[in-house]
Amino acid sequence: MITAGIDAGAKTIKAVILRDGELVGRSMVPAGFDTREAAERAYNQALADSGLAREEVKALIATGAGRKEISFASDTVTEVGADARGVAGLFPSARTVIDVGAEEGRAIRMDESGKVLDFAVNEKCAAGAGAFTEAMARALEVPLEELGEFSLKSTKAVPMNAQCTVFAESEVVTLVHAKTPKADIARAVHDAIADRVTSTVRRVGITEDVALIGGLARNVGFVRSLEEDLKLKLLIPSDPEFTGAFGAALIALDTKRV
């Protein structure tokens, strides 16, 4: 049985193709300004990657902030539902899911079957999401993809007071002018966002194992800060940003099996 999932995020659109629940194709494209067009492109690329034809897909489920715009999907699910199902498929021992994407973060508590018991969302404020690290990387003049690795060189914790991305940008510039080592500032950036994410996770309660997904899971500096804050080791998939799309495709499979 071939199923597919598309996750239309704020910055990127991810598509995956599954054969009997196993990943056979995937693609990620920038969201741009036309969600539907970008989703179409991501889907076609994922199909090409799998070597399968569109007609072979039995069900396609869309998730993500832009899911309503994907009119060619057979159904939609919330990000919370897709995340939980995706993580349950990857890590059966996980009971807590933390998803930090470009523009929002969320924490989910679930049971052993992947059923959502509780969740808390942090959205509409850049300070709790990837947009924060993006702005800080710009202020530090460090490429975003190197920011995490770079922060691991830090030798000293420096506090960051600003809670708003715009104010934090000015604070970073002030710290740079004061000759604070950039690696220490980068660490402060990750500590600050980890602090906010941890508090959000506390709202649903921290039950091990804890999985981290979403684009920010690729940032080793953020992972370190978050693990230190939570005092535990996180389960992280090899392609963390695809977890939502993977979950959507698994839900598509579940519905066909019933």
Partner: protein
């Protein structure tokens, strides 16, 4: 005076209101808060006042949404049952969320 400490951002409004007219500066709220959000001292917003008053400490004002999460699980909490609110004998503390 109703002192509203906190903020509003894209995610909502998060204020702890302390009524300085009701507050008797007993300080019971200070140890009740597990995160050290509250303190008692001079009323900095009323320089002519002689009595002390409870307030939200400066470094917490911009993040109470997160700090207070400890007492506010996403399901199953009630505002009246918050430790700071319960500890106050004069009902001077109110949370907006």
């Amino acid at each position: 005076m109703l002192a509203n400490y906190g903020f509003k951002d894209g995610t909502g409004e998060f204020f702890i209101t302390i009524d300085s007219g009701k507050c008797n500066a007993c300080g019971d709220c200070v140890p009740a808060c597990p995160e050290g959000v509250l303190a008692v001292g001079e009323d900095v917003n009323d320089p002519m006042r002689d009595e002390q008053v409870a307030f939200v400490v400066e470094r917490q004002r911009r993040k109470i949404k997160f700090t207070c999460n400890v007492c506010k699980p996403s399901s199953g909490y009630d505002i009246a049952g918050l430790p700071c609110v319960k500890a106050c004998p004069t009902s001077a503390i109110v949370h907006s969320w």
